[in-house]
């Protein structure tokens, strides 16, 4: 029995436990969930010697402020995040992509993400949380996952069951590349839209709306006119599908999306661009470019190879 834990002095506005998510449950209405930005999730775990798919804390915009009690432990923050580490009342700005040794009484204050949405805090050890369908991922809409499916709250305790013995300092040079261009494969209802609508979709920029969350990203811009039918018979959805409801403003399905939908699908975001897509913050511009299936497959392979190379440098 160990007695090491973090107390959340401030939970942050949308802090959840996430891992790789759940498979094979779409047919009963449960989406993948899981860390939104997979690459940053994996790097965070590698920096603290965890299993790559171990649970982490995912935060959006404002992060948590934690105070630690217990034996020495390592932590790491990934993403584009501003945070402080407070030891004996002395504040130091922390660096992302670098592990830190934390001792009893130390605090970690994750102030906010910079120009992105999601950041990750990995803790070197095993967190005492519940799994549902082999995943801890919290889906707040369906109330599924650890912490009774609710986001973390102020004063909550994060209890540890085990600490990793290897607490060596690790770091990697990595910068999140900012993107505006998102590559898209034409959707199954691409021809439901007017010539002008299709042209606008691939040529004009859209603005990410504030009404975006882990379920979906809403966009505003030139309206995309439907010339066939504004509703289709409800059918399955997948992560990255871009639906266009009758108002002509596209919505991109993200990791906690509804599993069935009845709006025409104009496109699907290429898997290679998903990690970067989810980090585009409200108010930012986004532009879609068309990509063919085989190119999307090749680029995804290269992206994965790149992720593997980053992980092997740690």
């Amino acid at each position: 029995m160990i007695n090491s834990y973090f107390e959340l002095i401030r939970s942050g506005i949308n802090t959840t436990y996430q891992d790789k998510g759940r498979e094979n449950l779409y047919h009963i209405g449960i989406p993948y969930s899981g860390a939104m930005d997979n690459r940053n999730f994996l790097i965070a775990n590698k920096l603290v010697n965890n299993n790559l798919y171990a649970p982490v804390l995912e935060f959006a915009y404002q992060g948590p402020h934690l105070k630690y009690k217990g034996d020495k432990i390592s932590i790491a923050v990934t993403g584009d995040v501003i945070f402080k580490i407070i030891k004996n009342g002395v504040e130091n700005i922390g660096n992302c992509y670098e592990s830190y040794q934390i001792e009893s009484g130390d605090e970690i204050d994750i102030i906010s993400t910079n120009k992105t949405i999601y950041g990750y805090l990995a803790i070197g050890g095993e967190i005492d949380i519940k799994f549902q369908w082999e995943s801890c991922s919290i889906n707040t809409k369906a109330k599924i996952g650890s912490n009774d499916g609710k986001k973390l709250e102020n004063k909550q305790i994060i209890k540890l069951l085990k600490l990793n013995s290897n607490k060596d300092k690790k770091k990697i040079n990595y910068i999140n590349s900012k993107v505006e261009n998102i590559r898209v494969i034409k959707g199954t209802n691409f021809n439901y839209f007017s010539e002008e609508g299709k042209q606008n979709f691939f040529e004009k920029k859209f603005i990410v709306s504030k009404l975006s969350d882990r379920m979906g990203m809403r966009l505003q811009g030139n309206k995309i006119d439907n010339i066939v039918k504004t509703n289709i018979k409800s059918e399955g959805l997948i992560r990255g599908v871009i639906q266009v409801p009758p108002d002509g403003n596209p919505i991109i399905m993200l990791s906690d999306h509804g599993t069935i939908g009845g709006y025409p699908k104009i496109g699907v975001v290429a898997s290679v661009d998903y990690d970067r897509l989810v980090q585009i913050s409200p108010g930012s511009k986004i532009k879609f470019t068309e990509i063919q299936l085989t190119d999307a497959e090749t680029l995804f392979k290269l992206y994965e190879m790149d992720t593997d190379n980053l992980l092997s440098q740690i």
Partner: protein, 224 residues
């Protein structure tokens, strides 16, 4: 059997079984669904049946569209329906405060409350699919005279247990959620149980549902 298979993005197959919505086409979809799940094709991460489509998602790290398409085209389909479909009775109270849209339905359908309830209860409804939110069944078909459009402005919060009507379909809100269906009543039964990981859904595709009317006091005493 499948009219056409195309890609939906770079990591899913879109299997089209036709445009119409009926039990025959949906049964084909469900047979394919069961066969795909049983065959444990490497890399398949999700299989999603709906009225007349089947979407098969896969892990692009270990397979691709071409490989899975070939597997599906040569798949042995189990036409014997060995899955035992259940017939499930669902108690529903259509009194206040549950029948949120009864007035709207009366107007839209040009029927009075008694006529609406008579056409709704004690009929067999087929479960075409589950989803949108966890465990929500999409059931059909409603009587021709019972078909109303969605609300012009969807509700931000539909109460858990609500029974909704739209077009030829009826559904059950398994937990509080936004939604635009016409709410006729509410069931005290728990339709989705996330703690029962092997069988979280009370109603599954292919099952038959019969709604049984209960009074408000029966509703209140249901769990006693």
């Amino acid at each position: 059997m499948i009219n056409k298979i195309i890609n939906l993005g770079d990591s899913a197959l879109y299997c089209d079984f036709g445009q119409e919505v009926n039990k025959e086409i949906n049964s084909k979809v469900i047979k394919y669904f069961n066969s795909v799940r049983k065959s444990n094709i490497e890399g398949v991460t999700n299989v999603t049946p709906s009225y007349n489509k089947l979407i098969i998602s896969f892990n692009l790290s270990i397979t691709n569209f071409k490989k899975i398409k070939k597997k599906i085209e040569t798949l042995n389909i189990d036409y014997e329906n060995k899955i035992i479909n259940k017939e499930i009775q669902i108690p529903v109270c259509c009194e206040n405060p549950f029948s949120l849209d009864i007035k709207r339905l009366e107007k839209k359908l040009n029927l009075n409350r008694e006529q609406i309830l008579e056409k709704f209860f004690n009929k067999k409804y087929f479960c075409y699919m589950t989803g949108f939110i966890a465990g929500m069944p999409f059931l059909g078909d409603l009587d021709e005279n019972m078909r109303a459009n969605r609300l012009e402005t969807p509700r931000v919060k539909v109460p858990k247990g609500s029974i909704g009507l739209t077009e030829q379909f009826t559904n059950i809100y398994t937990f509080e959620s936004p939604g635009g269906w016409n709410i006729i009543g509410n069931t005290p039964l728990n339709i989705f149980d996330s703690f029962n990981e092997n069988e979280p859904n009370l109603i599954n595709p292919g099952d038959t549902v019969i709604f049984k009317e209960i009074t408000f006091s029966e509703y209140k005493n249901y769990h006693d």
